[in-house]
């Protein structure tokens, strides 16, 4: 969904995309000329399992309103078990961040395969819309 109102709050979103699946999925969404929210800054990583909690905390501190980590469906990891490890780590981080009072919606994970261009577009639209409703992220953002 493209925001109809250009005055609407445009959230800054950082998306960590797995090189083997989600990144190709976003590519597919692009070459299929799908229209979706363009708020995300995609960062291709070799594996969702390599996304350190530090990257996510750092993204929030540098002003991201939302962070999305996207990897391969369970069982599809190029490195056999990277996405399973990511799932544990990110589950724990999400619980911890929530425990400190940050909205859990700001930080999500998705499984998007290289064939799911449409799902990528849908995830992006929904995520952007959720963050837009939450408003700017000020809690973990460094005031410099």
């Amino acid at each position: 969904m493209v925001p109809d109102n250009s005055e609407a709050f445009q959230p800054k979103i950082v998306a960590f995309l797995c090189k083997w699946c989600s990144s190709a999925g976003s590519d597919l969404a692009g070459v299929s000329r799908m229209q979706y929210a363009s708020n995300a800054v995609p960062i291709t990583v070799n594996c969702s399992g390599g996304v350190s909690p530090l990257y996510i905390i750092s993204a929030f501190s540098k002003g991201a309103d939302g962070v999305l980590v996207s990897g391969c469906h369970p069982g599809d990891c190029h490195y056999m078990e990277g996405n399973y490890q990511a799932r544990r780590k990110i589950y724990l981080l999400q619980k911890l961040v929530t425990f400190m009072g940050v909205e859990p919606e700001r930080f999500q994970m998705s499984w998007v395969s290289a064939a799911e261009g449409a799902k990528y577009a849908k995830v992006m639209d929904e995520f952007t819309e959720q963050i837009r409703r939450l408003g700017p992220q000020t809690k973990l953002k460094a005031r410099r």
Binding site: P74, K89, L92, K95, G101, E126, A142, R143
Partner: protein, 345 residues
Amino acid sequence: MISIDDIRAKAKDLLDSGAVKAVIGYGRGTAGYMARPVFLSRPEEAEELTWDPSCVHNLALYLTEGGKCQSSKNLAENGPVAIFAKGCDSRGLVVLLQENYLRRQDIHVIGLSCEDGGVLDEYKLATALDGRTALHVTFADHGDFRVTTRDGEVRVKAQEVLADRCLECRTAHPVIHDTLFGEAQPRAFKDPFHALTAFEAEAKANGTLWAFWEKTMERCIRCYACRSVCPMCYCDECVVDSIQMAVAPDTTPEEKANRIKWIERSNTNADTFGYHLVRAMHLAGRCVDCGECERVCPVNIPLRLLNTKLEKEALDMFDYRVGFDADKPSLVSSFNDRDPNDFIR
């Protein structure tokens, strides 16, 4: 009840026979009633050893301290070391073994069971004594403490002065040991995760989670005492200080400015949150709840809440108990088909 003479005799024997090169244990402090860590290398020094409710320290720290990457090599070269370990400390040793930080043959674990007691909390003791100065604290029967003050001896109920973690502890008996003192005894003070559950229920009901943490973290002076005292924080270079980024005479300001700093040194709230989130995440599945970080915090940040939160999640969702099996893969390097998946789109 554990007799200190037995412990001293054992330590003396170990040093005498050359079975260990050194003993890391507790000794009488030089000021006040609190014990201090002592490092013995001669048999006659064994008389310095002590065991009382003020032996709060997690001595596993001293196996990882001082040239942290060197210490396992040092241990291998300089012979086995005997180390005192309470229940929680022994689980800390198990985690270090699990991470292949130590070799089992390089340590001789002198297990000390807390039995039906535990270690004390200095603040609680001060409150219980109501202005009197404690000179010496010893175990009495029924897990109570006998406190020698300037105005004579007082007996205090353990429940009043035990550290919070000890009230919630169910594993006061060492998990691994080569020599064991004391017996496993049933304990029932408070439910495990009591403090966490109470805090979470109240803060969630009032919606004050963020307000609480924002106010709490504002106090943090980033002294990193919590990091220094933690036996699990043994990285050669911590993410918060970039010690290995050498500054040469020809390093330009641009180069310095463009270096990646994940977390800035300033103690603004965002960076403080970054530090504490990273610290807690790094301890996920590794923290044995020895409570040292909270004890040494000069501004009383309730760090145990963060640690136990992740400990509870690991137990509830991944059925992972920290520090019981050195052969098990660690929490974040393992997975299960039953891991939660419904939070993912």
